[in-house]
């Protein structure tokens, strides 16, 4: 696979929550049209990493960020209109959040926020995104019902549809499969494989096998440090660079 265009460049990133250093000097790049998996045990800084990229970390009080993060070559701290930045990046967090709106409005929320008012345009976006999230067939007859009344797995797909609704170029998923049954998980994974041709995907996951199945490269984080980042056939081989990676991937950790 051709990896040449850098979409996200992270260098020397450090993040503190109060006195607690959550990310300790991480540098990594994410290339166009790849799926980068990020694995690691709890408290390793995976979610924090995503929050830094779309600058929602700023909503958490008492955080301090050092180092630079560039998206498409631009330092994100220099981005004046952070809403533009966030629209460029789709985010899916582990717990599904259906907004207290209809299914249609859930997906149309982001385009509307961006100023799209044309009804047929919105209709098209809603259908397209719900199809991509493998939810369309289940909800097409009741787009007016509340998104919060869907089942957990459906809400998670609704969340994914919403993340796709602002046509992001970079899609970040944080353990999207935690509330989804295995069949749906596989369907979403298929979707992600297709989306790879259109966008760059950062996939934070606790499922090592999911990283192995989906990703081109995998980064292993532990305790806020980047232990290793490499192509999947190295990480999941019998001889990754770090012994820790091998132990973690093989499930013999600790």
């Amino acid at each position: 696979m051709q990896h040449d265009v850098k979409r996200v460049e992270i260098s020397g990133l450090r993040v503190w929550y109060g006195q607690n250093e959550a990310i300790k000097d991480i540098s990594l790049d994410v290339y166009e049209n790849e799926i980068l998996a990020v694995i690691g045990p709890a408290q390793s800084g995976k979610t924090t990493l995503l929050k830094v990229i779309n600058r929602t970390i700023e909503f958490i009080p008492k955080t301090r960020v050092e180092g630079t993060v560039k998206v498409d070559g631009v330092d994100i701290r220099a981005v004046k209109n952070i809403y533009q930045l966030r629209r460029k990046i789709g985010m899916v967090f582990p717990l599904p959040v259906g907004l207290p709106l209809s299914i249609y409005d859930n997906v149309a929320f982001a385009p509307r926020s961006a100023g799209i008012r044309n009804r047929s345009q919105l209709d098209a976006i809603v259908e397209h995104c719900l199809r991509q999230a493998a939810l369309w067939d289940e909800v097409k007859d009741r787009l007016d019902s509340l998104g919060t009344k869907l089942s957990g797995g459906q809400q998670q797909r609704l969340t994914i549809a919403r993340a796709l609704s602002h046509e992001p170029e970079i899609l970040c998923l944080d353990e999207f499969s935690i509330a989804v049954d295995p069949v749906t998980t596989m369907r979403i994974e298929d979707v992600l494989k297709e989306l790879r041709s259109q966008m760059t995907i950062i996939l934070v996951t606790n499922l090592v096998q999911q990283a192995r199945r989906l990703a081109d490269r995998t980064a292993f984080l532990f305790n806020g440090e980047l232990i290793e980042i490499d192509a999947n056939d190295v990480i999941f081989s019998s001889s990754p660079a770090s012994r820790m990676t091998y132990d973690y991937v093989m499930g013999g950790f600790g």
Binding site: T56, F59, Y83, F93, L95, V97, A110, S113
Partner: protein, 298 residues
């Protein structure tokens, strides 16, 4: 004969009895609580019964407050309550939105919070003196509907802020984060997600302030409410902003303590009207709450 597996030991029996006593005690206290309310309402109605009629509501006080009705104070109270809430609601709600949705935890926020808490603790008579100094004298409004309403507004403001903040805080943080993640601004998030889902709590908080504004005597006594000022009977648009007015709470105080030889039913009738007005408004707030709750979306 097999042993009963649920044989009660003395210890378990004592615990069961203690549970029974605790439950009964709490129930008794809850029942005691509604007794005063029922007694008050029944007593007031019993005493006021001879005088209650539509004429009593629609007529001005007459013969040196010893006869007639309560039209002028009734309209005065409506004026004071409506104008004070028109002032305090936007300030209170917008301030609460800022404090809850925008403000970072810094010295300014803490200072504002401190001010709100302290303002809520100020006795109403102190509000009255402040209103006298600031609005009546300094701002040159004189003793007027406007000055009295502004004084009431300042008194109700901190509670409106507190109620609004609580209502906003009941909307889960996850909704806001979901909106921010798709690139919505804070205002878009507030406008489309937070406010629609907290409006019932906000409205309830505001409406509950109606009873406070209607009931307080001290803040309006120095700032705009007067002993006697007749208005055209049955006419509701009777006061200008800079007129002085009568008010139910003040009127009740006057005829109960300041005027000799008032027929007994008169103050009781006034009290009933004041109480019913307040209860009616509270009932409205309950209806709003129920209607909006039934549309709750999560």
């Amino acid at each position: 004969m097999s042993r009963n597996p649920f044989q009660e030991t003395p210890l378990l029996r004592r615990k069961r009895q203690a549970e029974y006593i605790a439950r009964s005690g709490f129930l008794l206290m809850s029942l005691l609580m509604i007794c005063p309310l029922i007694l008050i309402v029944c007593y007031l109605f019993y005493k006021a019964l001879p005088i209650l009629s539509l004429d009593f509501l629609l007529a001005n006080p007459a013969r040196g407050m010893r006869a007639g009705g309560i039209w002028a104070p009734f309209v005065g109270t409506i004026y004071l309550v409506v104008i004070s809430l028109l002032v305090s609601t936007p300030i209170g709600v917008f301030a609460a939105i800022y404090l809850n949705e925008y403000a970072r935890d810094n010295w300014l926020t803490r200072f504002i919070n401190l001010a709100v808490v302290n303002l809520a603790g100020v006795p109403s008579i102190v509000h009255a003196l402040f209103g006298l100094g600031a609005f009546v004298l300094f701002a040159g409004m004189g003793r007027s509907v406007l000055a009295a309403s502004l004084t009431l507004a300042i008194m109700t403001l901190p509670v409106i802020i507190a109620a609004t903040r609580e209502a906003l805080g009941s909307v889960p943080m996850a909704f806001r984060e979901a909106c921010w993640n798709v690139g919505a601004t804070r205002w878009q998030t507030i406008r489309h997600i937070v406010l629609p889902n907290s409006i019932s709590g906000i409205l309830t908080g505001i409406i509950l302030q109606v009873s406070r504004a209607a009931g307080e005597t001290a803040p309006i006594m120095f700032t705009g409410a007067v002993f006697y000022k007749a208005i055209p009977e049955g006419k509701i648009f009777a006061y200008g902003l800079f007129d002085q007015c009568m008010a139910l709470s003040m009127h009740l105080f006057t005829i109960a303590t300041q005027v000799p030889d008032v027929p007994e039913a008169l103050p009781y009738g006034t009290a009933v009207v004041l109480l019913c007005t307040v209860l009616l408004v509270n009932a409205a707030s309950i209806v709003i709450r129920v209607v909006l709750r039934s549309r709750k979306k999560w």
